[in-house]
């Protein structure tokens, strides 16, 4: 039981150690990464099954009782996100078989990717604020290395911005942790939930704003998003897709956790700020995308705009809204990463993903067009795909709360998303190919299978929505009732 909670972290971490030793055997590394991510997915699914059967699972390392030992907790929110992370890791490992070149493999792509996966899962599962910082740094340093691996000029230029902004965010996070410890004397999140309730409310709100800045930079919310569109289009597609899917979502997860478990004392102020930021994030992101002309840049701006919907769900802070935010998050990870995969395939087939340089793909590569249509329509919110339900839930929650302006912004953003997706469709797939465009080779199966599989997930989440919705609602119910989380960690269930 206690091992199940940390298995999704331990598997990739231990595997990366082995992959470091295998640095001369790229073929072996590739298979090893694929096998490890598959095993991680199996462990994550087992964990989710365990959580939905028996409730929140908690364990502390080394047998030290909470709140003194480092706690790892799997509630519905964490378990769902770990499953999504493992699905993305597997899809990326498969895509990387054909996408990552020998040069990058020689520089250690595979071990770094496994460290990244371990970092992401660690951030989802830890129940200790300082440990969360450590996992953030683990995934950050792996992502730094992956982003700049190979040292292409554009990669370096984008990497510098990414590294600089994320380092600042880390320092904000660390400063906030220091002040929290000074105020409460504990960093265990379950313990903090109680300690912060007894602390002076104005200081707690101040801390909440510090954490909002730190996590907001990671999650790329307005006005802290500018590093994302400046860097995400530069690395190889496999890296960019996993970044686009998971890394900002770690920030969103941290916000979800902090503003449902820790900072719920002054909801009118803290969640009011979140609501304003959510509105700006949606609109600014989608407007930025409308101005771009390269597939991956358009998609990068859309990441920002979609984060707005999730923050909106958090800001409304009702069970329906939180379920909507989580559903949106899961849908978005899958659809967004898939779009990056498709953009990578377009580059592979047509030699570029600049909309001025490609065209006619529907005529010549119809399967690729379908691979694009599914996630693109899901992103724009077409029924019966997953994005429709995600948007519906958030909008319904907004109507329930009477947040008319935000609902209008959310719907308007949906329309503009449709505009961007139609632009890509119209110019890359529908319009005749420009003079001299030669479609090179056909895409390898390793790149096509992940696209098809993720499109399948998107369709499944739209058609058979009930089980997914039930999971999201279970997670939302837990988030609205932090006492259950606290009891699982500090109560009888907390000791191993």
């Amino acid at each position: 039981m206690s091992w199940l909670v940390i298995a999704p972290i331990l598997l990739p971490l231990a595997a990366s150690a082995v992959a470091f030793v295998l640095h001369r055997r790229p073929a072996l590394q590739r298979g090893w990464a694929l096998a490890t991510t598959a095993a991680t997915l199996a462990a994550s699914l087992a964990l989710l099954a365990e959580v939905s059967r028996g409730g929140i699972v908690a364990t502390t390392l080394g047998g030290w009782p909470a709140p003194f030992g480092i706690t790892f907790v799997a509630d519905h929110l964490s378990a769902i996100l770990v499953v999504v992370g493992a699905v993305m890791a597997l899809a990326t490992a498969a895509y990387a078989l054909a996408d990552v070149d020998a040069g990058r493999e020689g520089l250690g792509y595979h071990p770094l990717f496994l460290v990244l996966v371990a970092g992401v899962h660690g951030a989802f599962l830890t129940g200790d604020l300082f440990n969360l910082y450590v996992w953030f740094e683990v995934l950050l340093i792996a992502s730094f290395a992956l982003l700049t691996l190979g040292s292409g000029r554009a990669q370096l230029e984008g990497g510098v911005k990414y590294v600089a902004v994320n380092l600042v965010s880390s320092l904000f996070f660390l400063a906030a942790i220091g002040l929290t410890y000074g105020l409460t004397g504990t960093l265990n999140m379950a313990d903090l939930a109680g300690a912060l309730r007894d602390a002076p409310p104005n200081l707690v709100t101040l801390l909440a704003m510090l954490f909002l800045v730190a996590f907001g930079i990671k999650a790329a919310i307005f006005p802290l998003f500018f590093w994302l569109p400046a860097s995400y289009h530069t690395p190889p597609t496999a890296v960019a897709a996993y970044f686009a899917g998971m890394l900002t979502k770690v920030g969103v997860y941290a916000l979800l956790r902090a503003f449902t478990l820790l900072f719920t004392g002054d909801v009118a102020w803290t969640h009011g700020v979140l609501a304003v930021l959510a509105g700006f994030t949606m609109v600014v992101g989608v407007l930025g995308a409308a101005a771009q002309n390269e597939m991956r840049r358009i998609l990068a701006f859309h990441i920002v705009s979609q984060i707005g919907y999730m923050i909106l769900g958090l800001a409304l802070y009702t069970p329906l809204a939180l379920a909507g935010a989580l559903f949106y998050l899961v849908h978005n990870v899958v659809a967004k990463a898939n779009l990056f995969f498709v953009a990578g395939l377009v580059r592979r087939v047509a030699g570029s993903s600049d909309l001025d340089a490609v065209g006619g793909l529907y005529r010549h590569r119809p399967w690729l067009a379908i691979g694009f249509l599914v996630p693109a329509f899901a992103l724009a919110g077409f029924p019966p795909l997953s994005g429709f339900w995600a948007k519906l839930l958030v909008v319904l929650a907004g109507l329930e709360a009477g947040a008319w302006l935000l609902v209008v912004l959310a719907l308007g953003t949906g329309l503009l998303t449709l505009y961007s997706m139609t632009k890509i469709w119209q110019r890359a797939f529908w319009a005749p190919a420009p003079e001299g465009l030669e479609l090179r080779r056909d895409a390898p199966a390793a790149m096509v299978v992940p696209v098809a599989a993720l499109a399948g997930v998107t369709i499944l989440m739209g058609v058979a929505v009930e089980p997914f919705l039930a999971l999201a609602q279970a997670a939302a119910a837990e988030m609205m009732d932090p006492a259950r989380y606290v009891a699982a960690v500090l109560g009888e269930g907390g000791t191993p």
């Binding site: 070149d101 300082f130 370096l156 880390s170 400063a175 991956r296």
Partner: protein, 160 residues
């Protein structure tokens, strides 16, 4: 005792912020180092200051004596220093590589260098016409050749 330390933290933090706001990325990194030092000291103060009693468990005892320093912030700071060390070294290596390939570490000049079609050679010289940066000490070693064949494909502006 906490107040003067807190004041010091504030001053160092302020100096760090001043450096972080500079256009030169090397100063930016120095600023980060200052801020991270200030943050570490602030965590130390957050554990409250005690003098002259280190938190070691004496031979035969099971707990440190009463009144000894709080060991947890020290553990946190040690972890933060380790992480900060790694991140700083990475940032410096990244800057060095950026300087070699793009010929500048000024944020306002980076985008222009990117669109400059003339290649920067591997010794870090800027394209003709651009202000020539000071040569980096090379120590007579041959720079490693990177996987240059991959760059065109991944630069984002690669022509078909």
């Amino acid at each position: 005792m906490e107040a003067p330390v807190a004041l010091t933290v504030g001053i160092v933090f302020g100096a760090g912020v001043y450096l972080v706001l500079q256009r030169n990325l090397l100063r930016f990194v120095f600023g980060l180092i200052l801020i991270s030092g200030a943050v570490n000291v602030s965590i130390f103060v957050a554990g409250r200051l005690t003098r002259g009693a280190s938190p070691f468990v004496p031979e035969g005892a099971v707990a440190p004596p009463a009144g000894s320093a709080n060991a947890l912030p020290q553990a946190l700071i040690l972890t933060a220093i380790v992480i900060g060390f790694g991140l700083t070294v990475f940032a410096i290596v990244l800057l060095l590589r950026t300087y070699e390939r793009l010929g500048t570490v000024r944020t306002d000049e980076l985008p222009e260098r990117l669109d400059d079609p003339r290649p920067v050679d591997r010794n870090g010289d800027a394209p003709a016409g651009a202000p020539r940066p000071r040569p980096m000490p090379q120590g007579g070693t041959v720079p490693r050749t990177g996987p240059s064949g991959t760059d065109a494909r991944d630069d984002g502006e690669g022509a078909p």
